[in-house]
Each structure stands twice: as structure tokens, then as C-alpha cells.
Amino acid sequence: MDRFDLAIIGAGPAGMAAAREAADHGLRVVLLDEQARAGGQIYRDVDRVTGLRGDILGADYTDGARLTARLRAEGVRHIIGAVVWAIEEGFRLSYTREGRGAQLAADRVLLATGALERPMPLPGWTLPGVMTAGAGQILLKQSGLLARRAVLVGSGPLLYLIAAQMVRAGVPPLAMVETQTRADMARAMRHLGGAVRGWSYLAKGIGLLAEITRARVPRYRAATGIAIDGEGRAEAVRFTSRGRAQRIACDTVLLHHGVVPNTQAARSLGVTHRWRADQACFAPVLDTWGGADVPGVFIAGDGGGIGGAKAAEHAGRLAALRIAECAGRLTEADRDRRAVPLRSALSRELAARPFLDTAYPPVAEALSPADATIICRCEEVAAGTIRGHAKLGCLGPNQAKAFGRAGMGPCQGRYCGLTVTALLAEANGRSPDETGYYRIRPPLKPVTLGELAAMEDTAPDSAEQERAT
């Protein structure tokens, strides 16, 4: 089995920056990602994007090519299309690539698995035609596709980003159904100092809003009672805004109310997670280098707490410095000296977060959905069923699996876990930490018998799509 000093999972900004930094200090680094090209969610397929698509996506996107280019320099073995499904103590990584299982070993692991869209269970959210806003963006980045008749629903900066990109492409959304209220903005003003320190975010946000306004995209604020109508597919969005009932016909609905850490891999390793009230999600407990409470396990980027792409890059490099020091490639003094500019850049990046998180909070009716709303997409379990479990004495998500099938489908709770925790916590009058989260066990993604049968015990040496050194 091939052995590396460091295995990094996830080739987004955090993983790419960490790989470069660690390799520059002489570590043997392997970088695995299930996607066919480096970039992660924000810079998805940045190396393939053409002129027009690049103009639509903007400079914050094309900037990612800086990171992918550095990945091609020496020292990093990037295995593309590798779905990592088990990480065992020691560390032994199992992954599937092109229908074959493979394994490799590493002294340390860095989880840079990024974020998932926050689950947004609203009536009708399982209908074909309803997608996450991130999915809408992936369609644009990766495939040059834009929804012709879309309504954007929810809150947060990413919603404005995709709306502006659609405007630039000449297919503006039919409407924006926004849930944030004046009261949210008033509360956010307490954090204005931070927002001013992170002024570039504010300036960008104002620029995006100006583009959307110029294109005369109707914006409905403080929307409530949101539901997606349709027979067999999404046909309209219904809601109330400023006391008036609205119904907007459309083909595509893009949902978004923030992103949350993707904690699957970290949880499978037994890393401790705590509820972060400021971001309304669980995040792993980490030291200032991204070190977790399982020896040899590090976490960087949005998987460690939402901070955005630039913060992910800095956090990735900080973790790499600490790992290089642990491996004896850097002195403590050297590590600390190199960390200084990264730490101040990181804190600048995070300065605007409290303002943004307060001004664009998650949608209340999606955090505590109506009884009839499906919350587990895979097994089609409704919110009322989970509340029923609580009445029968169910305290936590793992126990809920004894009562019903929520979280037992192929997505392994990725799009219901936070909702189940919230529903049980609310019904039992307990905190999210007391309520807990699903126990995650490998395989992190379903593995077929055929993939296991084709298991090789080393990574392929010269597969043509790999970049080896």
C-alpha cells in the first residue's frame, strides 16, 4: 500500500492551499477528491471555463485558477474522481475510482470536505425542478446551463450572487423570494464594526444588489408561508409578503439559506462536534491550527465552520504548517513566523461573518417545518413523524432510527440530520448538543460489491488522469 506523510480529502480552496504548502515543506502529499477536476464547490471546473462563462461567473471565481495552477507544480499527487468512503485509524483510506476500490496509507489526514447547503424542507421541496441554489450554480460553472424561468427562495449572499450571475447571462430570475426581515438587519447592525473591517464583502454585496435592481428583478422581502406547487414537477412558488398572498409560476426553484459544515468524514473518525449557535449548525472542535481531538486528524475550510473560500485557503495553509512541524520539517519558531500573516488575513476574512449571519438568518419555517412537510428526502419521512417519535420518548437522532427510517437512506442524513436534531431538541426542550446528531459510520458513500471485488491495495501508479510526481 502506498504511504504518504499527509492525505488531504477535498480539492477545494482549503485542500488545494494545504497541499501546496505541505508539499513546499517537503511532505509527500496525496490529495483526493471525488470530482473530476480540482476546484471544490466555489471554483468548480475553473480550469475548463471559457471566456463568456468566466465573465458571467466573475473574478472571484476565475481567481481559483491561481490555486489549481499551483497544484500542478511538484510534490502533490492529486487523485481525481476518488470517492473516499472509509478512513481508519492509522490511517488507512479506502476509496473508489472508476468503479474500483483502492487503499492508501498516511501518517496524518486533513479533512477539507467543505460545506453542504443547509437543508431547506418546505412543502414541495422534493418536486423535480426544485434544487439548491448551489446546484444552480454548479450547472452554470460545470455545464454552462441556466434555468430560464427560475424563482430564487431564501436568504443570504449566495442567493444574490447567483441572481447577479443569471442577470449577466441574460436570463434573470423571475423573482427573488427573500425571507430576511427588517428586524434581522436591525440586529445585524450590532456587528457593523466587523462588517466594516471586512468591507470587501459589503462592497461586493452592494454591487450584486445593484445589478439585480438594475435588471428589475422583483424582490419580495420577509416572505412567509412558502410552498412549492406542482403536479409531478415544480410549477409555482406560493408565499405571503407584506401581508399579500403571492403565487409566481416558474419551471425551476432554487433554494438557499446558507451552507453548513459537511461533517460526515470527521464524525466517522470520532471527532467531537459542538453546536454553534451563531451559525445554527454543528462544527468540529478544533485548536488554532485546525487540529481535532483525534490525534493526527486536521480539518480546514468550511468543514470546520463556515468562513468562505478565502478563509478556507488561509486555514488550509495554517493546518499544513502545523502538520509540517509535527512531521519534523519545520521548527516551531519557523511555523509560528509563517503563521502570522495567515492569521491576520484569516481574521480579516472572518470579520464580516457575524454581520452576514445575523442579517441573513436561516428560514424559520424550514428549521421547524409543518407536520406534513417531508424532512428526510430519501425515506420520505415528515416532520410530524419525528415530533411523534419525541412524544414516545425519543431523545436523539440515533434513537429515532429505532422509531422510523429517517436518516437511513443513501444520503446518510446529509439533508435531514440538522432538521431531525432541531425537531427533537424543540419537542423535548433540550439543546442541540444534548440532542446530538446521527452517528456516522463508514462507508461514507454506498460502495458496490463490484467495487470491493475490484479492490487494489495500492493506488494506481500511472493512471493517465492522475498528476503524479
Partner: protein, 100 residues
């Protein structure tokens, strides 16, 4: 480019024949399969094993499993597959894929 289809394609690419549920389609070679099917007007990728409800891609990042299709007898996430010539794609039968 058919304006009745729900998605606008910014660029044209060379196409290859594939079959989806018995229907012949021409999809851009090397494109993401889920995206290519959506652009070709495929609105429903599968029915759920629980209630038979129709589903189509939701996350496009390999996390939700709503884009499951069957290719050569193997149930796979269409958003994690690239279009190659002659793919024979079916709606998955016998429901979802479970971990072994």
C-alpha cells in the same frame, strides 16, 4: 436551442448518442450526465422506492442521491458521471442503492 426547455445552454458542444429509458438522445460528450439530461428536457430521473414520487437532481454535488440512474446494471449518481458515447441509462429499478 429550444426555448421551451427549462434550461438555456450557453455553449454548443459535439454530441454523442445515448439512450435514456428507451429514448434516443444526443448529449454533449464529456458533459456532466445529470446536467446533460436536464438540458435535454429529461424532467424525471427516477421514482422513489417508498411512494413512487418523481425525483430529479437536487444538489448536483453527489450528496443527495436524488439523481440516481442505472447504467449497465449499476445504480449511480448521474451528477457524478460524464457523458460517453452509447451510454444506456435507465431509471433505477428495485429502488435505491444501499450500502453493502
Amino acid at each position: 436551442m429550444n426555448p421551451a426547455l427549462p434550461f438555456l445552454e450557453l455553449e454548443a458542444a459535439p454530441r454523442v448518442p445515448v439512450i435514456f429509458d428507451g429514448t434516443a438522445l444526443e448529449l454533449p460528450e464529456g458533459a456532466n450526465l445529470a446536467a446533460a439530461l436536464l438540458a435535454a428536457g429529461v424532467g424525471v430521473f427516477r421514482q422513489t422506492p417508498v411512494s413512487g414520487a418523481p425525483r430529479a437532481p437536487f444538489c448536483m454535488m453527489g450528496a443527495c442521491f436524488d439523481c440516481l440512474v442505472e447504467i449497465d446494471g449499476v445504480v449511480r449518481q448521474a451528477c457524478m458521471v460524464e457523458v460517453t458515447v452509447g451510454l444506456e441509462i435507465r431509471k433505477p429499478h428495485g429502488g435505491d442503492l444501499g450500502p453493502v
